[in-house]
Assembly symmetry: C2
Homo-oligomer: 371 residues x 2
């Protein structure tokens, strides 16, 4: 997932601005250099006497942890827990091993978990911390674009149950999230694209200007300004509806279908990023939006061209559409037997709680995957 580390150190010494705080009621999020964030202050004050446990995966252990370790004296005696990388490992069996390690390290309720990694690490590490001894504090240091703009904002933690994404989990906010864009220069382009899908989603549901900026952006890695806009959109929505009773469901745009695609491909052991699945999920849901929510044909075509141009094609045979719909039936946002969707009324404007039945979804799947 992560490529090299060399240029990263360079960037870390070049900028010395303080990390910028994102305006957020339920989450303390900072965007900027980790070394210039409140991370060190927390380690040396509130968590001075706490054991520190760092959860990493194979990639961040190699590419990020050496830098973090050498940058913070307070982490000298931290325990490092190394997890296998990949969505297929975001499961209870792995959590169990970590809890056993916690027990062996004699971790107490006032100790601190630090999640250093992508969405799998922050989602699962947050879950692991939140149910151990009824909740340890944790800090998220997302290292992928996806986890910066999505997984680390909003207090959702979770793991998968079979093919069902994030079926187990709870709402639990980290003490601090630091999004340090320097980490992004070490990522594979595929991973950047994955995160970009969530940024596109934030534009589609709430900000036409962000969508347009992304549409016209020629850079491989989005600028800090765009990242900040994307995080701020999510953070604002979450602040207004933390427990997802209403508006927060907007963030599920693309995900009812996207999660089903991801679960389906995960079971088939096809390698795919979360963002790719969301991108194609968004396209299916844009067809639905055109049919049912007033999205104009012109905007539909702009989105369609953008997604088809940006994301590699995903192959799903028509015979498996039924399985996809079955998986949607187990998505967390449904009420009763119909399937719940957020749809676009226009680019930058969305409405939650469309209850759709199978036939119309099937039609949109056909349009997306068989043309």
């Amino acid at each position: 997932m992560l490529k090299t580390f060399s240029c990263f150190v360079l960037i870390q010494t070049k900028h010395q601005f303080m990390a910028k705080q994102i305006v957020s009621k339920n989450n303390k999020i900072e965007l900027g250099m980790l070394t210039n964030s409140s991370f060190n202050l927390l380690l040396t004050t509130k968590y001075k006497n706490s054991k520190k446990i760092i959860i990493v995966d194979e990639n961040t252990e190699q590419e990020c942890w050496p830098f973090v370790l050498t940058s913070f004296e307070a982490l000298k005696e931290a325990e490092v827990i190394l997890l296998p990388a990949g969505e297929e490992n975001k499961v209870m069996e792995v959590c169990f091993q970590v809890w056993e390690a916690f027990t062996n390290y004699n971790i107490q309720r006032n100790d601190l978990v630090i999640n250093l990694g992508g969405g799998v690490i922050t989602d699962m590490g947050g879950f692991i911390a939140s149910v151990y001894k009824r909740g340890l504090d944790f800090i998220n240091i997302p290292t992928s674009l996806l986890s910066m703009v999505d997984a680390s904002v909003g207090g959702k933690t979770g793991i998968n149950l079979g093919a069902h994404k994030n079926q187990l989990g709870l709402f639990s906010s980290p003490e601090l999230t630091v999004c340090d864009p320097s980490f992004l220069s070490t990522l594979d382009p595929k991973e950047i694209l994955s995160g970009k899908a969530e940024m596109i989603k934030h534009g589609l549901i709430a900000s036409k200007s962000l969508f347009n900026e992304l549409l016209n952006d020629k850079n491989e890695i989005p600028s800090s300004k765009l990242i900040e806009e994307a995080i701020q959109i999510k953070s604002d929505i979450v602040d207004r509806d933390f427990k997802e009773n209403g508006e927060r469901k907007k963030l599920n745009f693309g995900h009812t279908i996207g999660h089903a695609i991801e679960g389906y491909l995960l079971e088939k052991q096809v390698e795919v990023t979360h963002g790719e699945c969301v991108a194609w999920g968004m396209l299916v849901e844009c067809y639905l939006s055109y049919e049912l929510a007033g999205l104009s044909l012109e905007e539909l075509e702009i989105i369609e061209n953008f997604i088809r141009k940006t994301y590699s094609e995903i192959s799903i045979v028509e015979a498996d559409f039924g399985q996809l719909i079955y998986l949607m039936g187990h998505d967390k946002k449904n009420q009763g037997e119909k399937i719940n969707f957020t749809l676009l009324n226009a680019i930058g404007k969305s409405t939650v709680d469309y209850q759709l039945d199978e036939a119309v979804i099937l039609e949109a799947l056909i349009k997306t995957f068989t043309t």
Copy 2:
């Protein structure tokens, strides 16, 4: 655990008073007949369109569920999930099976879980509900004295991890708890004594008058008035400190040792109730209270006589005291390496956060178990 059902139905038809609401900020608790509580109103209004899942164990399925089913029309189509009884089944493997059943039943976030059973069912059922799809609502109907006065009040949910009691769990409050004393007439005397230990604890830490009433109580089953007093003490403490940062630790009196005893005996497959372990844990901690917290010799002797007279002896060989202390080291309430205790200054008055080291604990264990 549960004996007969016949007299129970009789009681249910004899009293027609409304259930009494316990004054509580964080929990809605009612004491009285289930049929006269707000249970039915909730089922037929807030949860009118929700699927209802009843979690029972082998005992409550036979002894309680038929009555509940026939009393509430709204439960006619409820799904029943039957779990094996006993503390040794309060483990993740069992939760996993329930989550798989939830998935098969296509349970959604607005559905309702009803826990009908003792502490194992309410603790584990609360945990199962609280982490499924980031939290289903649940209602607790405790059927044992222990779960009425303790497990169902205060928003703690949890399961065991190996010999470590409640190592996994979270704070999560039920929508409603109904404590119906009619269920108690079906319990084995051993189970009544188990719950009584927690009531004695509530007296010891916060109410000399409750302790004295229990000391002089000749009834096998404590009266509703005493149960109400015990619940109210716990509820008041929890209201002042829901997340257990301070005063709530008072409720751990007897439990630092008691949990270790229980974990130790659980591993040895010795059958013992939670309350018995707490009773003996309290005695050990009373010796510590006498040594370190100002409990008078006279009061120590009153408590000692009461516990030794009321609870059957537990046999722990001196060679295993080290193992007990190891298990205490993994109790949730420790800070750093010393072991955290709540001790009594007098009957009805307690202080939290005594940090003790092994030698003094060892001495108290010897006094309790080798004399």
